[in-house]
């Protein structure tokens, strides 16, 4: 294939990937904002729900954000009474972050909504297409950063 055609195909694919991911993100994100949560806040609560209490560093790596950012997100969640910080006794550098009852209730309900939205979004693809999409996206993610 000529160099120019290669570039064209790559740019085209890139654009479609970005637009597709973006529009899914926007529509799924609406379920989160309906619940009064930002995407980051949802990510933090979801991690705590499914993985249990963890320190901020682990939260950050779980949702692929910087630790400086996590501090703020957790600040805001704490203000709303959705999570709680506990300074570790063994190693006082660590904060363990855990869900409050209120936080657990909210994320359980919201997660169900979001899950349904994701299933609906992906429902435009057959199972086989989803498998294929997953494999291709995984390949793209594997390169070194």
């Amino acid at each position: 294939m000529k160099q120019d055609a290669t570039s064209k195909l790559a740019l085209n694919t890139y654009t479609k990937l970005m637009r597709g991911a973006e529009s899914v993100t926007v529509r799924v994100g609406r379920k989160m904002s309906d619940a009064g949560l930002t995407i980051s806040q949802f990510g933090v609560l979801e991690a705590l729900l499914h993985k249990g209490p963890m320190c901020q560093r682990d939260v950050a790596s779980k949702i692929l954000k910087s630790t400086g950012n996590i501090t703020l997100v957790i600040d805001n969640l704490e203000k709303q009474g959705l999570v709680q910080r506990e300074r570790s006794l063994e190693d006082r550098r660590y904060c363990t972050v855990l869900l409050t009852e209120k936080g657990r209730g909210l994320i359980e309900a919201t997660f169900a909504e979001v899950e349904a939205a994701i299933v609906a979004e992906m429902g435009v693809l057959t199972d086989a297409e989803q498998e294929t999409l997953g494999k291709l996206c995984k390949k793209l993610g594997l390169r070194e950063g």
Copy 2:
């Protein structure tokens, strides 16, 4: 397929799509920040380079951002002398945004870098795989928002 398996596949596909798109974005975005541009700034300059001068509303829809946002992004580009605003004479509500010489030089050089990065990213997929990925992503983007 059982409902549970359907959900699991959808969630799995969703996660891979998000991670794949995110990691490509980060790596390609690095070329932009190397040039001192944010992703949005790059998007604005790129639109102006390839589509010619346009009003802010068109810029906004081109890069899928709100008009309030565009005002700020263009403010910052203008401060750096990369673009220029011109209030339209026929209809004074419109601002035409156009590239300066400096802006044109920067975006031409940066676009080449970014294009190369995109080609490299997509290069992990065969041409056929890229076609497939493009089609699947397009399907995902088509739903009503």
